[in-house]
Structure formats: structure tokens, C-alpha cells
Amino acid sequence: MSHFDRRSVLKASLGGAALLAGPGIVPVRAAEWTNTPEPNASIRVLRWKQFIQAEFDKFAEQTKKFSEKTGIKVKLEAESWEDIRPKAAVAANVGAGPDLIVGTLDDPFKFPEKLIDVTDVADYLGKQYGGWYPVAERYGKKGNNWIAIPQGATGGCLNYRISHVKAAGFEEFPKDTDGFLKLCQALKKNNTPAGFALGHATGDANGWCQWALWAFGGKVVNDKNEVVIDSPETIAAIEYVKQLYATFIPGVLSWNDSNNNKAFLNGELSLTLNGISIWTVGKNSTDPKQQEIAKDMNHAPMPIGPVGVSTEQQNVLVYYGYKHSKYPKAVKEFIKFMMDKENYDAWEVASNGYVSPPLPAYNDNPVWTSDPKITPYRDCLKRCRDNGYAGDLGYASAAVMGDFVVVDMFAEAASGSATPQEAAKRAAERAKRYYQV
């Protein structure tokens, strides 16, 4: 009896409730959504420009449906996602511009106090659909409140030519970094090389370089936001990338985000990191050569390095509304509408699986299994880390990524303009300038 206190009673009650809820004895109540948008609301939405036309068309169609249902007028605009960043920054700075932006990564963490608190939307969606992926929560939540709602990620997977990989002696795509290096070396030997952007390509170069750094245990900062990139783990990652770089098609140091798509669809590339767009474009192309390439290609997750877990970095897309909006409730209503499973699913089907969902409950969409080539993109958010790893998301993480600190480190060492040690040291100096503020 001595241990029978209020705390133990509460624990026992919650445990019992959980046990009952597990098998479905206690019905899980649907989350409640109570939000009354402002009368005669009218909002301006700026989102990333489509890579797949059907995706944008469906988004626009649903926007129209939203307006018809709620009476809220929506002006929809699209910009290249790299151009959204400056616009979002200016809107935050001057307090005018779009009411809602669908942008990328940790942008909202650069101006959190300018943004509408969307905790109620996040709570509703999380409860309604069984919870967010942890990385999605990282990209949406600052402290106890949500400042952004993750829309998903324009998932990046390895795009490869099936016949070329087979000709290189691999029946299955390698799942670890050692096998991956051997594959790239064999592809190079067969004159069907791999190629990964190593220029200032915001999505592609940052994506695979962060993966490589993390795969070997390297990281820009630790969990106290102290810069620790100049480490033996980073040197190991650089040495690995140097070997990979030697197998790449010439010119990757100059590549931006569109180069690999062009080279792949021209048949000059056998392996690269990209979204599902190469395959979709090839499949829908009228050019028989591109159709043939689409038939001969498949997708795979990034290999796992010595750390033993997936270490992908994905281009996560996020909704964030501004406090300068006259209609913050209408903004939240729009996000909730677009993220509701029914609408999200229909949009996902139209986009052919272009956006990996942030809520695992959305994985049952038939589009993910309609073709096995689409399936690897489904779990991108399950496999990825946020770009501030292992520290916080915020100004410094965004600045390090925006300033290409990690990409330049690998590029310097891979191209021979610096030793791995020099490159790691320089990266540390550059990162410290942001993290010491």
C-alpha cells in the first residue's frame, strides 16, 4: 500500500487505457476541427513550381474546390522553389506579400515569430491520421508550437538503369556504401558512369552530400549545436566521396539541379540522385529513346553507411502562413483542407507519387504500389534526417546549407583543390561563423 499513490494510479489508468485502445476495445475518437474562417476572406498562396504538370493541375483544381466549399477566395501563384526562399524572406521582413507559402526545409525557422501558430492544424491532422513522422514534426514544430505544416518531400531516391547495373555485375541494387562504391566503379569501367551534382545545386548536391557525411557518422553540429564537422568520421566520409567522385561522369562540379535529369534522359548517365520526375517525364515522353530509358530504370533508397541506419536528407516541403495575413483562420482552413487524406490522396495520385507523405497513414494510397518503381519514394520521410542534424533547425542550419558548406567541403577534396583534412577544417571554420552567432 505504501506505493499506492496518486502517480501510480494515474500510470496504471493510462496503461490500462492504452492496452484497451490497442486492440480497439476503446474506440479512438476522430479528432475535432473547430475553426471559423473570417467572413469574406481572400488569401494569396505562393507555392513551389511544378515538375509534373498533372500535380499542379490537381492542386489548382482542389484549390478551386476549397473556394467553392468555403467561400474563401484563393489566388494561387507558383515560383521555382529556389526563388520562393527570397520571396518568403522579403515577405517576412516587410510584413506584406503572400498569406501562405508552400516552401522548403527550415525556412520557417528563420522567421518563426512572423508566422501563424498552426498547432491546432498539426494536432488535428496528427490525431486524425495517427501521428507524424518524427522528421516531419522536426520541420514543423518549434518548441511546443507548430509554425509550419509539412506537406511532404519531393523525395530523392537513386535513379538507375536496370540493364547497366546488371551489366556491372549486380543483380540487386546494393544496400550498403561499400557495395554502392563497387557498383559505381563497375559502371565507370563499363563506360556507363554514375553522376551526382557537386556544384551549387541546392537540392541534389546538398541531398547526397549530407547523406554521405551522416552515413559515416560525420555531422556539422552535435546536439548542443557545437560545430563538430572537423572529425575523423567526416574525413572517412570525404575519403569515400573522393573514391566515388573518381567514378563520376565529367562536369559534376558545375551541375545544378537540372543537369542530372538532362544527362539521364539523354542516356549519358546510369545512376544519380533524383525525384521521381526523370522516370515520369521519360514515361510520358513522345521520344521513343526516353520511353526506353524509363522502361529500363528503377529507384532505390540511398545505401546505408557504417552508422547502420538510413541517413538521407530530403527536400521537405512546408506550409507556413504569415501573421501579416488578415485572414489567418482562412489560411489554416486551406492547409487543413489540402492536407485532409481524401484530398491529399487524390493529389498524390495525380502527381504519380512525387511527394512523399509526412503522415504514415497516407502510405496506403494505391499509387505507391501501382508500380513497384514508385514504392521506394513512399518512405522518404521515414528514412530521412532534418538538415540541422544533430542540432536544431534554425538560422544557422539554413545558412550552412544555403552557403553550401558541406557541398564545398566534398567538392574541394574530391577535385583535389584541398586535402580531406584541409577541407574539413575549412568547413568547420565556415560553419562556426553561423553557429557562433
Binding site: 556544384g199 562536369g251 545544378n256 543537369n259 549519358e268 538560422y395
Partner: protein, 315 residues
């Protein structure tokens, strides 16, 4: 009566003062200047002052920022990428400006002669200047593409090369490639402006020189160049300023890569301020450009406009 007369007298006094003020040339002149001064303050002085102020603060995107004095500059002085961007900017400006001047002057002299289809040739010369910068930058980006370059393709087809040139993937190749793109874009401005200057030189000077038996080189050395020097000073000042502060060409073609080899101060400023979110540091980089720009202006005006030199004398 006194109650009524007093305010009336004051009104008359005020009215006459106001009327008399408008009769004054000085006052009226100042009033006419007010809109122009207001525009200058609002659109030129204020942004410049704001830039100076931001450079002295730790302002982040969306934040207020606090005054930190010269801390941004101290931090930049230890930043290798910043110094690389300073080197790149000077390299880019010096080589592009020299070649633009040489080619522009040559074209101007050529167009000043009696040429068949002169109007058409002038229109063609102007074309690079007419095309929006971003479009021409995209064209160059394709021309320099590592897999699809038309230059590499032609050279391989002609049997002069065995593999594609890595125009933008090698730091020095990339630097020269962007310089070339800038030259292509900037030559028309130099050529057409110098042509305008050439047409103001009186033909009688050349006739007199011909009678004296001057050679082509002597006529160029002792008539054309001195007479053209004021316009050269203006053209080169503008050319240097525009080249030094170039942004669009670099941002579209290389985004400062590879390994920051083509980052100019302007592109780095944008990258740090907008992409990176550090408005204070971005502004500080922009402010760091000012001494170079002032030096360029002083060099042009005080160097090229020396009256003795204009008159054919020596320094």
C-alpha cells in the same frame, strides 16, 4: 473694429509673406528642387544609408537586429570565401573591362567608317545588349554545358577534341567562361557609346592631319584618343561599375560554383543575406564593395580626364 481688423492684418501679412516668398528666385528654385531631392533621398540615399546601417547590425531575415559595430567586417576578414569573392570580383572586372574596352573601341572605329549595310551592322552589334541578361545567361549556360555544349560538340565533330570541355566544372575554366559571357554582353554598350563620341570629333581635324602627312596611327594617337577621352572616362566608369556589381550572369550560369570559384561579392552578398538569412552580413559584403567602386570612379575621372593628356601631352 479693432477685433475685426487685427486678424485681417495678420492674414494680409502672412499672405504677403507667402506671395513675396514665391517672387524670390532662390525660394522658388528651392521649391522646384524639392520633388527631385525627395526622390533622391527616398530612393537613393535612404537605401544606401539602410545598407550601411544593416552592415553594422546582426539583422537576420524577419528580425530586428542590434548594432554590433564592425563585427561583421571583422568576421568577414577571417572568411576565406569572402576573400575569394573579392579576388574573383577584381579578376572578373579587370579582364572583362579591358577586353570590353578594346573590342568596343575597335567596333566603334569600324562602325565610324563607311561600311556597307552600316545600320544593319549597328543593329547586330546592339543585339547582346537588347537580350535580357537572364536569357543570355541561360544561353551561355547551355553553351558551357558539360554534356551538351555546342562548342565542345563542334570541336569534336571537327576532330579537334576527343572529349567535352569542362567549361564550368573547373575553377579557372569557369572564371574565364563567365568573363567571356560578360564581355559578349557588355561590348555593345562600350561600342555604341564610343561611336557616339567618335561622331562628335570634327572631320576638319583629320583633314588637317592628313595635309600634315600624319599616319593612321598618329591620327588615332593625337586626335581620336584625346578627343575621345572624356567619353572613355564615362564609358569605362559605367562599364567597371556594372561589371563589378554584376549578379545575374553569375547567378544564372554558376551560382558562384564550382567551389566558389566564380562567386562575386554581389552574388555572395545575396547568398549570405537571402539564402542564408543573414541580412547584416550580406549588407556588410555589399558595403565592402563601395571602396572598390569609389576607387574605380576616381581612377576614371582623375586619371583619364587629365587635360594635358587630352591635349596630346605627356603626364
Amino acid at each position: 473694429m479693432a477685433v475685426i481688423a487685427e486678424p485681417a492684418a495678420a492674414e494680409v501679412k502672412r499672405s504677403s509673406l507667402w506671395s513675396r516668398a514665391f517672387e524670390s528666385r532662390h525660394f522658388l528654385g528651392a521649391m522646384f528642387m524639392v520633388p527631385a531631392i525627395a526622390i533622391l533621398i527616398l530612393f537613393l540615399a535612404y537605401p544606401l544609408a539602410l545598407g550601411f546601417w544593416l552592415g553594422m547590425t546582426d539583422t537576420k531575415i524577419g528580425g530586428v537586429g542590434r548594432y554590433i559595430g564592425f563585427q561583421n567586417f571583422v568576421s568577414l576578414s577571417k572568411d576565406s570565401v569572402f576573400w575569394l569573392s573579392v579576388f574573383n570580383t577584381i579578376f572578373y572586372t579587370v579582364f572583362a573591362s579591358i577586353v570590353k574596352f578594346a573590342v568596343g573601341l575597335y567596333l566603334a572605329l569600324l562602325l565610324n567608317e563607311r561600311l556597307p549595310f552600316k545600320s544593319m551592322v549597328r543593329a547586330i552589334v546592339l543585339l547582346p545588349f537588347v537580350v535580357p541578361t537572364v536569357l543570355s545567361a541561360i544561353a551561355f549556360w547551355w553553351i558551357y554545358d558539360s554534356q551538351f555544349s555546342i562548342i565542345s560538340w563542334l570541336l569534336i565533330k571537327a576532330g579537334l577534341l576527343t572529349h567535352y570541355i569542362d567549361f564550368l566544372g573547373d575553377p579557372w575554366n569557369a572564371r574565364w567562361s563567365v568573363v567571356l559571357a560578360n564581355i559578349w554582353r557588355g561590348v555593345p554598350f562600350v561600342a555604341i557609346t564610343l561611336l557616339a563620341g567618335l561622331q562628335t570629333i570634327s572631320p576638319s581635324l583629320y583633314e588637317a592631319a592628313n595635309l600634315d602627312g600624319a599616319t593612321n596611327l598618329q591620327r588615332f594617337r593625337h586626335i581620336t584618343l584625346p578627343m575621345l577621352s572624356p567619353i572613355i572616362a564615362v564609358v569605362m566608369t559605367f562599364s567597371v561599375l556594372m561589371t563589378f556589381t554584376d549578379f545575374q550572369l553569375i547567378y544564372t550560369i554558376t551560382r558562384g560554383g564550382p567551389i566558389n570559384a566564380t562567386h562575386l561579392m554581389a552574388t555572395l552578398s545575396f547568398q549570405r543575406a537571402i539564402t542564408g538569412g543573414n541580412l547584416g552580413e550580406g549588407a556588410a559584403i555589399s558595403n565592402a564593395m563601395i571602396p572598390f567602386l569609389v576607387a574605380a570612379i576616381l581612377l576614371s575621372f582623375f586619371g583619364l580626364q587629365r587635360s594635358r593628356w587630352q591635349q596630346g601631352g605627356r603626364d
